[in-house]
C-alpha cells in the first residue's frame, strides 16, 4: 500500500573541491535523487560556502545547502542509499521539514544572555516608533505644558 506523502528536508555538505559555479550542479544531483525516488521537490536553497566547526575529511570549508521535498515514507530510504555514491556530497541529513512560522523571524539574533543567563533587556521596543511630530503639534504641546505649569505653580503675578 502506498502511504501518504510526508514533508522532509535534506541538508547536505558539498566538498570544497567543487568549483563555486559548479555547486548548482551538485544541488541538482540531490534534486535528481529525490525525483528518482518519486519525491516532489519543493524549495531548493543553493549551497553556500562556509567554515565548518570541525574538519571533515580534512576539509575546513564546505558548501552547505538544503532542499525541501515531499515523499512517501516508504520511499525515503532510497535517498541515502543513492547519495552514498556521490563523492561530492560529503555528508547529508534528512529530517522532517522545519517550518518556521513567519512571525518568528523578527526575534532572531536578538538574544543576549547575561552572565547569569537571564536576558533582562527588552527584545523589542515597547512602542512602535512614531513619526516625528510636526512643528504645529510641537507648538501645541508646549502651549499645553505651559498652561499646566501655570495651573500648578500659580501665575507669577499672584506670588
Amino acid at each position: 500500500m502506498e502511504s501518504e506523502a510526508k514533508r522532509y528536508e535534506i541538508s547536505y555538505l558539498v566538498s570544497p573541491n567543487v568549483a563555486e559555479d559548479d555547486v548548482v550542479r551538485v544541488a541538482g544531483i540531490v534534486t535528481r535523487v529525490i525525483e528518482e525516488a518519486k519525491g516532489v521537490v519543493g524549495h531548493i536553497n543553493e549551497p553556500k560556502k562556509r567554515r565548518l566547526a570541525y574538519p571533515m575529511y580534512k576539509h575546513r570549508f564546505a558548501y552547505f545547502g538544503y532542499t525541501t521535498f515531499q515523499i512517501s515514507p516508504s520511499q525515503i530510504a532510497e535517498i541515502p542509499q543513492k547519495l552514498r555514491f556521490e563523492k561530492e556530497i560529503i555528508r547529508h541529513l534528512i529530517v522532517d521539514e522545519v517550518v518556521i512560522p513567519p512571525r518568528q523571524f523578527a526575534f532572531r539574533a536578538s538574544w543576549q544572555p547575561t552572565e547569569a543567563g537571564i536576558s533582562t533587556k527588552r527584545e523589542t521596543p515597547r512602542r512602535e516608533e512614531r513619526p516625528a511630530p510636526s512643528a504645529e503639534e510641537r507648538a501645541k504641546a508646549i502651549e499645553h505644558i505651559d498652561k499646566r505649569l501655570d495651573e500648578i505653580l500659580g501665575t507669577p503675578g499672584e506670588q
Binding site: A53, G117, I118, T120
Partner: protein
C-alpha cells in the same frame, strides 16, 4: 556558604520571544546556548523551559552533525 541567587525570575527566552520551532540550521542562535567548551548549557544557566530545552538539544545535535556548531572546542 550561601549560594548567590538572583532576584529576577528566570524566563525562557524561546517562550518570551514566541519561538515555537528551533531551526537546526540557525547556527548563530544555537551557539548562544553553548558554553565555551561547546557543551549545551543547562537549564539552570540558560533559564530555558523544559519544553524548549528539549527542542534546543535536538537542534544542537543536528547542527553538530552538519558541522554548523562544534562538538567541542579546545
Amino acid at each position: 556558604m550561601r549560594r548567590t541567587t538572583t532576584t529576577q525570575e528566570k524566563q525562557c527566552f524561546f517562550c518570551t520571544a514566541n519561538i515555537k520551532v528551533i531551526d537546526y540550521k540557525d547556527g548563530e542562535l544555537l551557539r548562544k546556548s553553548l558554553n565555551p567548551q561547546g557543551k549545551i548549557a543547562g537549564r539552570r544557566r540558560s533559564g530555558v523551559c523544559a519544553y524548549h530545552q528539549r527542542l534546543l538539544a535536538a537542534a544542537i545535535k543536528r547542527a553538530r552533525f552538519l558541522a554548523l556548531i562544534p562538538f567541542t572546542t579546545r
